[in-house]
């Protein structure tokens, strides 16, 4: 549980298009790392390469290394399915399985991993729903379809689904961008809670959110149209928001951008 990432010279491509160039970044365990930067600079692309979801797109590939506690997840002996089982992901739009019951949604990952014991599954479902601050709202309707919840509830259901398998790392791509302020706060609180057990990487367009929830912030930027995105700087969140070392970072966080 709660492993560290070391990203070394990572170059990411969509077919011929070079989307992100030479990222070097360390993500410590039990820590929240935020990715910020303008639209199209490759934040999601980098995030998706951390659990090998990137290669789901046709023609997509990476060069370089992504070490999870020292082991390269892109080594030829590693099965991407196994990687995704240990690195959870929460998407921008909530995507529970709509016909599946709430309970089955939460334990879907465990079932894929072959757990069949009903008692164990029920236990995990409750623990994960509590962990995602959703238990009280859904405990009376665990057998109802997951598609029947509100957007904020669905997103917390997706978080419960991701943490049910006790992943090493939790990746979140703008998890609050489709939610109202109250649900957003609920999820931010949740992230702070989850940090005790998990390594978290979150992409966000919301500066306040990055400042509130993260320990370290990575700023990505685009040097020009058609150019690959780059990691400009990464540092403690406090430092990035008070005294960044790069001018571009300062311009971006103060809103004086392009």
């Amino acid at each position: 549980m709660a492993k560290r990432f070391d990203i070394k010279d990572l170059n990411i491509y969509y077919g011929k298009f070079h989307a992100v160039s030479s990222v070097n970044l360390a993500v410590p365990p039990r820590n929240v790392t935020a990715f910020i930067g303008p639209s199209g600079c490759g934040k999601s692309t980098v995030l998706r390469s951390l659990n090998r979801m990137h290669e789901v797109a046709p023609g997509a590939r990476v060069e370089g290394k992504v070490l999870l506690d020292g082991e390269d997840i892109y080594a030829s002996t590693v099965d991407p399915v196994e990687v995704r089982r240990t690195i959870g992901m929460v998407f921008q739009r909530p995507n529970p399985f709509p016909t599946m019951s709430i309970r089955d949604n939460v334990v879907a990952g465990l079932k894929l991993a072959g757990v069949k014991n009903k008692k164990k599954l029920d236990e995990v479902a409750e623990r994960s729903l509590r962990g995602a601050n959703l238990w009280n709202e859904v405990k009376d309707r665990l057998d109802r379809p997951g598609g029947g919840l509100s957007g904020g509830q669905q997103q917390r259901l997706c978080i419960a689904r991701a943490i049910a398998v006790q992943p090493d790392v939790l990746l979140m791509d703008e998890p609050c961008s489709a939610l109202d302020p109250i649900s957003t706060l609920a999820i931010e609180d949740l992230i702070t809670e989850l940090k005790k057990d998990f390594t978290i990487v979150i992409v966000t367009h919301n500066m306040q959110q990055a400042a509130r929830v993260s320990d370290q912030t990575a700023f990505f930027n685009l040097l020009g149209v058609g150019q690959p995105g780059q990691l400009i700087e990464v540092d403690d969140t406090e430092k990035i928001f008070s005294n960044p070392s790069q001018k571009a970072t300062e311009d971006y966080i103060s809103g004086r951008f392009g």
């Binding site: 979801m53 998407f91 995507n95 399985f97 598609g147 991701a162």
Partner: protein, 324 residues
């Protein structure tokens, strides 16, 4: 409207739009009425023509297998065997075509790269363009004889299952329901595949990614997202196929050998389906009373097909209600 501070133009515009809605609504209501009324009229026509013959019938219409309509003074016709042959051949076709169509549709949408899938899909669609008379000739002259050893094997080894027991025609030449069912399966494959392909393709990418990100293999992803999403469409497509198989006429007429004894509920029976029976007698439709016997059979096929469709709609609708 009194509290509308923006003036009179928005209400005026909305009345205009409402008028458009009204015209559109009466057009759609009108055309659906036309369809319902014509279906009703067809049913009524069949009924009116059939009733005198049914009244003159000397045996039970539903439970007897005899069919003699030559002597108008002594009509004796029953649809039992027609129903058995129709249902057996169509169900066999469906049982073969449904899994194959699902496999092809999944393969085309979620395994093959789109560039290769496109021409492949086109070839399957082409099957739908082959005239049924060609399928019939092929079934009777090529497929039937070459299925003979397989049919013999099944008959010899599985005859304890009623469906594979001895039929009422000889196995040689393959003029039986077994051959007809397989030919029908090929004929309905394109429609089931095409409908399934469309629904499987529309599975939301978000859901597919959600499953993959949980560590689902491709097949597990399909099981958790594509199949639940496409279920009702797949069933609806299969029912379209079943409708076609139930009503298929000329191919079945050519393939099935006529039998001298009544049906044994076996795949190795010959005989007639509703449609092929009616078609076989078409040249002799001059005497209204004997024609009415065939029309009564047609009426049963009509109602039966209707019921199958309603059932399919119910199943598909139930799947959707669950999903929302």
């Amino acid at each position: 409207m009194t509290d509308n501070v923006t003036g009179s133009s928005p209400p005026a515009r909305s009345t205009g739009r409402r008028r458009g809605d009204g015209i559109f609504r009466s057009m759609t209501t009108g055309s659906s009425l036309v369809i319902v009324v014509s279906i009703g009229l067809i049913g009524l026509f069949l009924l009116i023509q059939a009733v005198p013959s049914l009244q003159a019938n000397t045996i039970n219409f539903f439970t007897s297998a005899e069919w003699s309509t030559g002597d108008v003074g002594n009509l004796a016709f029953g649809i039992r065997d027609l129903l058995v042959v129709t249902v057996l051949s169509s169900l066999l076709a469906l049982a073969i075509a449904m899994p194959i169509a699902m496999g092809i549709a999944l393969f085309l949408t979620h395994y093959l790269p789109p560039k290769i899938a496109q021409p492949f899909a086109y070839v399957i669609d082409l099957l739908a363009a082959v005239p049924s008379i060609v399928f019939g000739l092929w079934g009777a002259k090529v497929l039937g004889p070459s299925l003979e050893p397989i049919a013999t094997f099944l008959n010899e080894n599985l005859s304890w299952i009623p469906l594979f027991s001895d039929g009422n025609v000889s196995l040689s030449g393959g003029g039986n329901i077994f051959t007809a069912g397989i030919v029908l399966a090929i004929m309905i494959l394109p429609i089931i595949t095409a409908v399934s392909r469309e629904v499987f393709r529309q599975t939301p990418a978000m859901q597919i990614e959600g499953a993959l990100a949980l560590g689902a293999t491709r097949w597990e992803m399909i099981r958790t997202t594509v199949l639940p999403f496409g279920r009702s469409g797949y069933i609806a497509g299969s029912m379209l196929g079943l409708g076609r198989a139930l009503g298929e006429t000329v191919a079945v007429l050519i393939i099935l050998r006529s039998a001298s004894s009544s049906s044994t509920f076996s795949f190795f029976d010959g005989g007639y389906t509703f449609a092929s029976k009616i078609a076989s007698a078409a040249p002799e439709f001059s005497e209204p009373l004997s024609t009415g016997a065939y029309i009564a059979a047609g009426l049963v096929l009509f109602v039966f097909t209707f019921a199958v469709n309603a059932l399919a709609r119910y199943i598909a609708g139930r799947g959707k209600a669950k999903a929302s």
